[in-house]
Amino acid sequence: MKSTSYNLVMSALYNGTKGSRPPAGNPTSVVCHGLMDLAGISFPEAHLDPHAMAELALAGHEIIGFDTVMPEYSVHQEAAALGCNVDWGNKDCMPDSRNFPYEDFSDVEVPENLLEKPSMRVVLDALSILRRHVGGKVAIIGKVMGPWTIAYHMAGTQNLLLRIGLGEEDKVIKMLRQLMPVSIAFAKAQFRAGADIVVLADHATGNLVGSYHYKELLLPIHQEMTSTIEGPLILHVCGNCLDRLELFADAGFDAYHFEWQVDAKVAVERVGHRMCLVGNVNNAQVLYQGAPDDVYRQVRYAVEAGVNIIAPECAVPLATPLENLKALVTAVHEGY
């Protein structure tokens, strides 16, 4: 096999032929101040303009050396399309929603022209631009929020979790079911636009809910989604999800993008034979506050553990030193 970026990623995704080294991937954002400065593109422009969005994604490959390009830097594209008032932030601040349009759990109105809403269109257009530039050379990753994460934006995180605690799961399930088609439609459109892989980020994290919540409320929905969306899917759930790794594999995802809180060796031993593992270099202590040597040690630990695609555990903090991200790629280039 030729060890091109695209080949390395796609082969690693299905635990196939190993090339000369593991791939370095970014299922979530690797944009930091240093990258924005060098690329000459900044937030919020890169959230709103497809050319800026694609160019910044490309900078992750050309300047840092990641084997993937992923052009969606926020978690609010679907929320904006569904009526949230999103503040798109600035160079120092990621976007955030300013309101929760369905706090009362009334029926979510999905617009007929959902995919034409500006926050959705921009991602689809950026993926097409990337396809034209690096299709077949670099693995192009799209990203959609799952219904659980969109529901946080629709109803408010605390409100949603409280409903579950108060035994009003029916309201939550109804909302998740109404939002599921949004995630499915966006994922399918991203594949059509040029994505090789789509990340489904659905934050039923270990720090908020238990594995029993995931199993009862979200697993059946994830199973429906993975059987409906045909292209390769990476599940992203932050936090310590040690208690639900097998459930993620049961959900039918091709890969799981995981955090440092889950030990790489344990993850590989438990589910490495059932799905590709992507991760899990620590953001807060290592990539943001650590030195290149710290990054090197974590990357080598993950490679030796058998993690298939080496990546930061989640979207990196904007103040992450660029040299630490480059150190991740350098350590991966040492090979197996």
Partner: protein, 220 residues
Amino acid sequence: MEESTYKMSDYIEQIKQAVVDAKHKDIEELVKRAIDEKTDLDMIVNNALISAMDIVGMKFSDNEIFVPEMLASAVTMKKALGIIKPLLTRKDAKSRGTIMIGTVKGDLHDIGKNLVIMMLEGAGFRIIDLGVDLSAERAVAAVAEFKPDILGLSALLTTTLPAMEEVIKILKTKGLRDSVKVMVGGAPVDLKFAQKIGADGYGKDAAEAVQLAKTLLTQN
């Protein structure tokens, strides 16, 4: 006498269990009945509500329950407190201390802070909630004005960690650092960071924050 003692402890146990199990629909009726039957208010607060939230905190720390159940127990406890509070005399209503708490500047996430507040209230502390996106200047001005025993700072985003350090720096500049204990918490925070910025303590979750607050105040 024996019968009333039995009844009282029975009510205490029932109220405690109702909070642990988040029986939010039944709690008000239960507390009213207990009060009608002359159950000691102080006992309800300390031996039922505070004890219940201690149990909830332990279960949360042990990953037996998660945020949904904890929020629901806190809501249940608040309903009970809503009935009891107007009946408490000034003497009965003594608090363990005053804690001022906020999510630091640049951070709009408040679920962790709110959980900590609910647990601290459950444990008998008086709380002043400074909300989210709290600037160092506003935090320090509030410390000068309200003179809390503890200032709690929360952050979810890694990018807002430096804002915690800024609060402590300004407290020092204004000569207020020794007048207040500072505790910090939130997903990207750890003990090493807390020590580095000169905080007095770090709690990894809401239950630990309660223990930390108790410890910090016994050090006075």
